[in-house]
Assembly symmetry: C2
Homo-oligomer: 489 residues x 2
């Protein structure tokens, strides 16, 4: 495995693509815009899934599964929703193939045309609220706290592995509530769950905020989001949580009898994160030698590479290493002892660097003599010799330290690349290199013009926005606080 | 929750459908043939998934994810495969909707027609072997042991919840090997994994066998299967494992350089189980009062229902029950303490019976006085009073006993309803009520005729088939052993 990825400074975009492929995370498929998630990439996604799934369950949610295909008419029931998704839908029109009578192989059977076209779900609000109509009669049936792990499809024109693909994997939570306040609380709770996950497991710091009207989810009253900074200073929206108001309840006529027996429309939320998080994870931490994975999500946390020339040396090494492997496993640490004789140690070092394994132990005959082992950490590339005695607890502590260090490094980077701008000139310069807090007059028109001229968008109105009198950088109109601008993925 | 399901003897088929709906497992969706898997049903499926996933990992497999959509031309590359699946494919022909200019709402945009139609995967051999072509160069790249959890679609005309739905969830393992023997060993290994899972977790006894040519998977050289008996005596194919030979390697030109540097075609297997297992689980054990779940797959293993009139009585009960809940949880037992005051104990009893919760504890003021608790087991409906002291370990043992009892009951039922037939007359009678072992002349023609006349099919040639000279029940031609016939789901 030759480390043939370009450097970030050379070509950040190419660095990312090559890294994704060379590290065995994903590759393009023959189907336009769809990806194949390879075993190593999927193992990381599985760790994300397991962690998130537990967090959802801990907050009272249950999983369910709704159909992949959605009748076209459902999509049209919520006006904003169809407007937002109609332009990028995969449409199923037929349900059978047949042998062409003129010998052109297998063709679509024109007689098997569906009466109503079906859409491959781009998101499931419509089909789910159609079900909720039957599930909900009284306040006793509420709240409904359901999540679904699924594949969805949005026919994107320009795609990039993990970041923007026609098909992607995600989870979508869909909840129904008796009161507005409860739905808002749920929306905010899930935003906090996402922020906690991304910061504590992915080691990526995020800014929590609310989207402006133009960036809102199609059909939502309010869209909350978490925004992360990538190493090129661009923002990546890592998760969204939508307060749907009564929009989908209206569209699908979902009402409940309240405690007084009066009929009311149900309040809703939806929230999701996707395989896009893989893109964020890769771009936030990795370097020119390959992936840097936070220990909490690394499929292999520790790799042990034996250095030997003769088979009996390997035997001696194994005698020492096997108990270490056992001890690490008993501590819940995933460890791989790579005894393959088909590859040299140097090749293995490079491979595990590329794959972002947080800690590498190397051990040879000399180490055995001295009772030491070489410990290399992936994040800082530091190496040291440590006594074999007590190595498991050393590694355990080191993994924690790496987790924290990666997060701190990403946070420092974000702080260094986050500025405030008070003039449009200043803004235009700064927004090329990172996040910019600036005053905005609150209109979609100004937002659009800034986007047109600079390609930067308002990522969010931060939840911790300070009240501060100022003037819009673009129009000079009064503003009560700064919003977060950035170029974004 | 009124127990309004019909009895099995009244209408077995209706009993099944109503049970699935009333127990909150699944329901029909507005999309023809597709189902909504409701939270309680999904919780059971999740337990199945987790168990199987661990068994796959323990046998060296990794998960990955391949695209939902398959180019039409891929399907055609393996002749038998396209023959098997072309007639039931959902076909994506367009990638955009638009507002109709004549005001008919949202319509398919005729300008967004795909150059090549895409098929919603009915199974993924083609798209996966197309990837394997790039993954495999040398014997060092083999074996590839990959599994995928996914949704698939087969446009079935007559559908039934879980048993036969247009969309279903499943796992599909796809492995690639350097030698024929290794691929055959893998095929058989996965059959054993499935049999172990179905017997030890689902508590359903199975017969392992190999399919006849006419029942073989489209594209396989050999299809191995496990067959289970439902309570109406019909067979349900619970899992299949296919030895693909070099068929897909040929179709997708997947070759490897062997140790001598010579090019060879790769050998393949595929194997899968689906949400159909849910149907098997339900139909194998449940009774006229509702579900009977094996403890190992029950989302709630123990429910505790307090019996009280005054609030202070509930307080006293909680004082005793809370430590029991804690102890059960610490033993890894999932327990629900249902303190809702919106429903009476009798209603709760019926609900948990319907939902198949293996053990129910009921405790009221009199029990507190006596230091006892009422223990009811779902499988036999037996009730007894047990001392509160040591109740957790009693429950733990009882769960094991129930798991075994359910399996033994299903096995006895199968044994009672499995016969041998030596004449066609005898066969026709017996096959109405269960499994029949009979001699067959080995031809597809005879198999077809028997199917036509009796609706019974050869479920498999059992792996443990005894050599026995006999004559085909239909043609009288010589036969070397009996095969398993049954009517099937």
């Amino acid at each position: 495995m030759a480390k043939a990825i370009p450097s970030r400074s050379e070509d950040y975009s190419l660095w990312y693509n090559e890294l994704v492929k060379k590290a065995g995370l994903a590759e393009n498929s023959p189907v336009r815009g769809c990806m194949v998630i390879k075993p190593y990439g999927f193992a990381i996604w599985e760790k994300m899934q397991q962690t998130l799934d537990q967090m959802f369950k801990d907050t009272g949610h249950e999983n369910a599964y709704f159909p992949l295909l959605i009748p076209k008419s459902f999509l049209s029931k919520e006006a904003d929703h169809v407007e937002g998704f109609a332009k990028e839908c995969a449409v199923v029109t037929h349900y059978r193939l047949k042998n062409d009578e003129e010998g052109n192989g297998v063709v679509v059977d024109p007689e098997a045309r569906l009466e109503e076209e079906l859409i491959v779900r781009p998101t499931s609000e419509t089909v789910i609220w159609d079900s909720y109509k039957n599930w909900i009669q009284s306040y006793r049936d509420l709240p409904i706290l359901v999540n679904q792990w699924a594949n969805v499809m949005r026919w994107e024109m320009r795609t990039r592995l993990f970041l923007r693909t026609a098909e992607f994997l995600w989870q979508e939570g869909h909840t129904a509530h008796a009161t507005k306040q409860e739905a808002i609380d749920e929306t905010r709770q899930m935003l906090v769950v996402y922020a906690t996950f991304v910061e504590e497991f992915m080691a990526v710091p995020v800014i929590k905020g609310v989207k402006t009207e133009s960036e809102r989810f199609a059909g939502a009253v309010d869209t909350f989001c978490i925004e992360a900074m990538m190493q090129d200073g661009k923002a990546l929206q890592a998760g969204t949580s939508h307060f749907l108001g009564q929009n989908f309840a209206k569209a699908f006529d979902v009402k409940f009898a309240n405690k007084e027996g009066k009929e009311e429309l149900v309040w809703g939320t939806s929230w999701g994160v996707s395989t896009r998080l893989m893109g964020a994870l890769i771009m936030a931490h990795s370097d020119d030698d390959g992936l840097v994975l936070p220990p909490k999500l690394a499929p292999i946390q520790v790799v042990i590479v034996p250095i030997y020339f003769k088979d009996e040396q390997l035997d001696q090494i194994e005698e020492v290493v096997n108990p270490i492997v056992k001890e690490l496993k008993s501590m819940g640490i995933s460890v791989k002892f790579d005894t393959r004789d088909t590859h040299k140690p140097g090749w293995k070092f490079a491979e595990y660097e590329l794959k972002g394994v947080p800690v590498r132990l190397a051990i040879g005959p000399k180490d055995l003599e001295k009772g030491t082992v070489e410990v290399a950490r992936r994040d800082t590339k530091e190496k040291s010799f440590q006594p074999i005695d007590g190595i498991a607890s050393h590694v355990s502590e080191l993994l924690q330290e790496i987790q924290e260090n990666i997060f701190n490094k990403a946070r420092s980077f974000r702080e260094e690349n986050t500025k405030t701008a008070d003039t449009y000139e200043e803004f235009k310069q700064l927004v090329e290199h990172g996040f910019v807090y600036a005053h905005w007059d609150g209109t979609a028109e100004t937002e659009d013009k800034i986007k047109e001229e600079t390609k930067a968008t308002i990522r969010c109105i931060p939840l911790d926005q300070q009240e501060e009198d100022g003037t819009c950088i673009f129009t000079g109109k009064p503003s009560k606080g700064r919003v977060l601008f950035a170029k974004a993925y």
